[in-house]
Amino acid sequence: MADMPTAFERFVQGILPENPVYRQLLGLCPTLAVTNGMKPAITMACSVGFVLLCANVVISLIRNLLKPHLRIVVFTLTIATFVTIADRFLAAYLFQMSKTLGPYIPLIIVNCLIICRCEVCASKQSVFTAASDALGQALGFGLALSSIAAVREILGTGMFFGIRVLPEAWPDWVIMVLPPGAFLTLGLLLGFVNWLGMVKSRRSAND
C-alpha cells in the first residue's frame, strides 16, 4: 500500500488535477441535464456529494469482506440505498426542487463517478482516506457543475441565482437553457480546459 496516495493528496487531486467532469469525463448525464440554472446545479452537486461520501465510507468499512465477482452488485445496492434516502429527503424538504430535478436524482445510482471512486479508492484504502477522497471529488464536481451552470444561466436568461445581472436589453439566448446549449457549453469549456492544461505543460517543459 506504499504507493497509494495519502488522504490529503486524494482530497487535492479531486478538485482540479483529477476533476471528475473535465479530466475524467465521468457523470456526464447530470452535468448536462441539471445545469440550466445555478440552484438545481448546486442541489445536484450536494446530493451527489452526500451519496458519494456515504457510499465511500460504507464500502471502505466492508472492503475486506467483498468478493471480487460480486463487488459491482454490492456497490450499486449500497449507492441505491443512499440515493433513496437523498431522494426522500429532497421530496420532503425541497419539494419544488425535487420536481425540477425529476428523474436525475434516482439516476445518481448509475452515475459512473460514484462507482469509479468506490472501485479506485474506497475498496482499497482506509475510511479516512476514502472520506477525504469523496469530499475532494464532490467539491470538484460541484465546481464543474457551477461553472457550466453560470455560463448557461447568465447567457440563457440574463440572471444569476434568479437575480438579474445583465441589462434588460439582453435578448435571452434561449438555446442555452435548452438541451443543445448544454452540449455546446460543456464541449467548449472542455476544449478551453484542455487548452489551459496544454499551455501549462508546455511552459513547465520550457523551464
Binding site: V73, A80, P179, P180, G187
Partner: protein, 260 residues
C-alpha cells in the same frame, strides 16, 4: 384506434422528439465513449434496445404486481398478517430504485448467459458491451419514466399498460441507436479533419452533439401535428409524455418557442 394512436405517439416521441440522448442526456457515456466506429455503435445500440425492452417488461411487472398500493402479490402476502384494508394500503414504492437496479443487473446477467449459450455469433459481436449496459442510465431512465406513469396517477384508467411501457422502452432504444449511429458516422469523417489540438476527441464530440440536438429540435411539434391530422376530435385522451412536468423550465421555454 385510440390505443394504437397512443402507442404511435409514444413511439414517435421517444424515438425522435424527446430523444433519450439528445433531449434527456441519458446514455451520454456510450455516446461519447463507444461512437468511434459505425459497427461498434450499431452493436451497442442494438444491445441497449434489447436489454431496455426486457428491463421495461420486468420493471413494469414488478411495479404493478408488487410495489404499488393494492398490488396483488404484496396485498396477498400481507393478508396473512394484517387486516384486508391495511393489506391493500401497503406501499412499497420507496424500494423501487433498489428493486429496479437489481432487476436490471440480474436481467443483463441472464441475457448474457442466454446469448452466450444459444447465439455465440451474436455474443461475440456484442462483446464487452453487454456487462457495461448495467450502468447505462438510459435503461434506468426508461424504468423510472414508466414508473412515473404507473405510480401516483390521478385516475386508474390513465396508468400505462404493458404495451405502452414496452413501446416507450423499445423506441427509446431505437432513438438511442439512431443518435449514436449518426454520431459515429460523423466521427469517422472527423478522423480526416484538422481539429484544433485541445478539441480532439471528447470536446468536439460534445459540440457536434449540440448541433445534432439543435437538428433534432426540429421535430418539436410533430406530435401535435400528427394528432390533429389523424384525430381531429378534441376529446380523445392521449398521454402527453412531451409536456414533462419534471422539467418545468425547459417545458416553459419550449412552449414559448412553439407559441410565440
Amino acid at each position: 384506434m385510440t390505443y394504437v394512436f397512443d402507442i404511435m405517439l409514444i413511439a414517435l416521441t421517444a424515438a425522435l422528439i424527446n430523444n433519450f440522448v439528445l433531449y434527456y442526456f441519458v446514455g451520454i457515456c456510450p455516446f461519447v465513449g463507444v461512437s468511434r466506429k459505425v459497427e461498434m455503435a450499431l452493436g451497442m445500440g442494438l444491445a441497449v434496445t434489447f436489454v431496455i425492452s426486457i428491463a421495461a417488461f420486468i420493471s413494469w411487472s414488478i411495479t404493478t404486481m408488487v410495489l404499488i398500493p393494492g398490488a396483488p402479490v404484496s396485498s396477498f402476502v400481507a393478508g396473512f398478517f394484517l387486516s384486508q384494508e391495511a393489506a391493500a394500503r401497503i406501499d412499497l414504492t420507496v424500494l423501487s430504485y433498489i428493486v429496479y437496479i437489481f432487476s436490471i443487473a440480474s436481467s443483463v446477467q441472464f441475457v448474457e448467459m442466454y446469448v452466450r449459450k444459444f447465439f455465440p455469433m451474436l455474443y461475440r459481436s456484442f462483446g464487452v458491451f453487454l456487462p457495461l449496459i448495467t450502468t447505462n442510465c438510459a435503461i434506468l431512465f426508461a424504468c423510472l419514466t414508466i414508473m412515473s406513469h404507473v405510480v401516483g396517477v390521478e385516475n386508474p384508467e390513465d396508468a400505462w399498460d404493458l404495451g405502452r411501457a414496452i413501446a416507450l422502452a423499445f423506441f427509446g432504444g431505437v432513438g438511442f441507436t439512431i443518435a449514436i449511429v449518426i454520431m459515429s458516422g460523423i466521427r469517422e469523417e472527423l478522423e480526416l479533419c484538422d481539429i484544433p489540438e485541445p478539441f480532439k476527441d471528447a470536446a468536439i464530440t460534445l459540440v457536434i452533439g449540440g448541433i445534432l440536438a439543435i437538428a433534432f429540435m426540429g421535430f418539436t411539434g410533430v406530435d401535435s401535428g400528427l394528432r390533429e391530422a389523424i384525430m381531429p376530435v378534441q376529446e380523445v385522451q392521449v398521454s402527453t409524455w412531451v409536456q414533462e412536468e419534471s422539467h418545468p423550465r425547459v417545458a416553459a421555454h419550449f412552449n414559448q418557442v412553439r407559441v410565440p
